[in-house]
Symmetry: C2
Subunit: 500 residues, 2 copies
């Protein structure tokens, strides 16, 4: 069953050859973008532009029809106008193409007439059940292991462990953008469009079986078969997290459409409750969507909700503790033993409380020693850690001529070296302590505000180890809460694998 | 009364001369950072480093005591160790210094003994009631009109209309950082520390009277006199918004400290309710804090909560509509007249619904024409607009060698020019329509994710006109809801000025 599933989707995600039907040299056409993106992504397989008039497109020999391609075609990207889709599909079937992605819009999403046209194409496709078809009305797919970037959007994420199925291409693209800004890679991406044939349910089932996908991101507006979705999710979530962003409050079962406040209704809530019950992690904004999924990659699952906030100083700790309380976490009082241990090396002005506020205590290793003192306590399930990566930020600010010390480069080097050294020590201890104690350390830092991870050596190092920095303490707390909910679900269903 | 208040705080915010008592040449000392920041900020007044041993600090003549300074001293920045603060304060009083900011930590925030020391200093200060004193245990102050950056943190925001009083220097700094990343200026900043003398209440009263402050940001953990705060706020909010981030869920009246979930309690909720009743805008995360305050600068206040979401395409609109519904906005059905108007120029695949989804309709002016068709409708109170600034993002991505078209610069120019032209048209229409119809247009765009505003010509242009772009649709909706709450308050109290 699992093997069957993997084999079935192989032409889609690991094609040996791709035809772009409707390839174009006009930069405003989608047939241009897709062809160009595939080439730019260094796709190593055979690429066949299909165009009735051109002999060559982007230095590749073009063919008038997929039937004219000399070798086999695993995957067809379809970007022809709607009335031509039926003919193209028939040609693909004649050619025994393994999979097709119909980018073309103007089908069921428009009106009843176009819907009928979509249904005809669907009936035709179903004549060859082994033919995997995505769309219509979608942005394409990516498979980073195969170096396949067959989509119209401008994004070429690096390889990674997150896979996306999104009913909105733009939402999927935004998730990828949050990932790229945090130097996080992706494994597979499908913009599923109208889902005439292949549905979100099918793709989650596949991602569940796909060993290279560690966490599944799903943006859903409406499901063809909500019952099947829940069945599939129930099988997947005990061993692999599904993180969902749900759009369309008013109609969870059908085509999503926001409508009058008065009619905001129970169906969406019922669907949400059902999803939670089968272990799906529900999120409500783009960065929560990304950061929660990414946390499953790099964080041990917390055993419970007892959290300690550790901060270098100031109100961030207070805000994080508030957020944690609002998220239902237990901001526990500090055990006496922890207090004694911290007293032995922190300056007396530290907070003596949870949040543990170092109050700008000097010393490069104080933060890492504090983290260890806290996380080693058996009553602590995890830490929300605030403040890391400032060296990189100063380095960046240096480029601003109005910035502090800009006219004193030697001194600036000294300051940066000092902060980066502290960053390095903290970084290593965060990564090491998570592993040693099997407890999560969720980070938030205002170094992640603004220009973010790229160019910040500390944050880039953490990203490489799947440790991502939230922009605010509230969002760190939210991620922590999402991890706890998933742990509780796994415990409830008796899942006993060590986690992700 | 108002004149008195303005005069009283003049030495603090508009000093002709500043003494840094405890100025230092050691880069790790706060006495170094402050002196350096003041110089780096091009403070035009007289600057006197005070240091017992040095004859000169950073090319400025140093004096052993403030009493040795030849001319008058308006403002003293105090960075000496705690036991020396009393002597310094007495010297300042003898010198008739107008205002002092006590950076020094190690007072009331540490323990009862240090608290007594703070009380003694406080009693001494009160002997000269005209002496304005901030702190102790704070990060300093900024007054951008006076080019005064007298603080230990690394930030030199440009001049603007937002003023901050923050009981946590780090929280204030984070608000400023969000501002800088969005190219928003600030007017005044006070890290109020332990508030031994001057309190949040006092500073909000002053900002209320200060004509150069248009919006007040306040981070509060605990208030000396909550009743007085509410009285002051009640006088200020009808003509000037106060945006609050409240830290410390467990104790709204005293020193904030997060504690056990079980004791999370009514007092914080009561305080929050009281704040709302006097028109204070309550926020819960850093970017909400900044973006809500910034929206008061550039957005007409909405007359009601009837909102239309306008999006270039895809799930962003659905998510924005969901968020708007969750925030209590009325995502109204589109009026027939709007639908007819949009039908006359949009491609038939547009959504015909709210959210208005252009579904990638081609044409540079379609978005701006859509915005006008919607906002001119008398049943629409405002727009949440999604998607602007992509030209700048592509321009930035161009630097990435693996990015699309990177090996085809001519084509890249063409694409960028095209997108930036559309951006320019939309930008101008957003700014013009807001003014013409007196209705808010709140923008969210994934162009604001990641590298953000700096370097993105479109977004920078919008920032210069106090129009700021939210990173996600949810946050745009949150800001809209905050504007509506404030409108409702103003209406309830009969405020009739045209807004901010």
């Amino acid at each position: 069953m699992k093997r069957e599933l993997i084999d079935r989707f192989r032409p889609l995600f690991y094609p040996q050859s791709v035809a772009v039907i409707g390839a174009s040299m006009a930069p405003t056409k989608w047939g241009f973008g897709i062809t160009h993106n595939i080439i730019q992504g260094r796709y190593p397989g055979a690429l066949y532009p299909i165009n009735l008039k051109q002999k060559e497109i982007m230095s590749r020999k073009a063919y008038p029809s997929v039937l004219d391609v000399p070798g086999p075609v695993d995957l067809a990207m379809v970007v022809v106008p709607p009335p031509k889709v039926m003919g193209v599909i028939k040609n693909c079937q004649a050619k025994k193409v393994g999979a097709a992605v119909i980018i073309t819009a103007g089908f069921g999403e428009v009106g009843p007439e176009e819907r009928r046209m979509q249904d005809e194409v669907t009936r035709q496709i179903r004549k060859t059940p082994e033919f995997v078809v995505i769309g219509p009305n979608c942005q394409g797919i990516m498979s980073t292991e195969a170096k396949l970037y067959a989509q119209i959007i401008f994004a070429q994420p690096s390889a990674g462990d997150l896979s996306i199925v999104s009913q909105s291409g733009n939402v999927g693209a935004t998730a990828i953008q949050w990932g790229q800004m945090n130097r996080c890679g992706f494994n597979k991406f499908v913009s599923s469009g109208n889902e005439a044939i292949t549905t979100t349910e099918d793709l989650i089932e596949y991602y569940g079986a796909d060993s290279t996908t560690k966490v599944i991101l799903s943006y859903v507006e409406g499901l063809k078969d909500a019952r099947r979705f829940l069945e599939v999710a129930r099988r997947v979530t005990p061993h692999k997290p599904i993180v969902m962003l749900k759009g369309g409050l008013t109609d969870a079962g059908g085509k999503a459409a926001a409508s009058h406040t008065g009619s905001m209704a129970g169906q969406a809530k019922i669907f949400e409750g059902a999803c939670r019950q089968v272990g799906v992690t529900m999120t409500y904004d783009f960065d929560e969507f990304f950061f929660t999924a990414a946390a499953f990659l790099g964080q041990p699952l917390p055993k419970g909700n007892r959290v300690v906030v550790v901060t270098l100083g100031g109100g961030w700790g207070v805000i994080a503790a508030d957020a944690a309380i609002r998220e239902g976490l237990d901001v526990i009082p500090l055990d006496k033993k922890i207090i004694e241990k911290l007293n032995s090396f922190l300056e007396s002005r530290w907070s003596h409380n949870n949040p543990v506020d170092l109050a700008a205590s000097e010393g490069e290793d104080l933060l890492s020693r504090t983290l260890e003192a806290v996380i080693s306590d058996p009553n602590v399930d995890g830490i929300i850690q605030l403040g890391v990566g400032f060296g990189g930020r100063i380095r960046e600010m240096r480029k601003n001529p109005s910035f502090l010390l800009a006219d004193n480069p030697a001194l600036m080097d000294l300051v940066i070296d000092r902060v980066e050294k502290r960053d390095r020590i903290v970084t290593e201890s965060i990564l090491e302590l998570k592993e040693r104690y099997g407890k999560p350390i969720i980070s938030g830092s205002d170094a992640a505000v603004g220009r973010g991870v790229p160019g910040n050596v500390t944050l880039e190092h953490l990203s490489r180890h799947n440790h991502f920095i939230h922009q605010t303490p509230l969002r760190a707390a939210r991620t922590f809460a999402n991890l706890i909910r998933y742990t509780a679900f796994r415990r409830a269903v008796g899942a006993n694998s060590p986690g992700v």
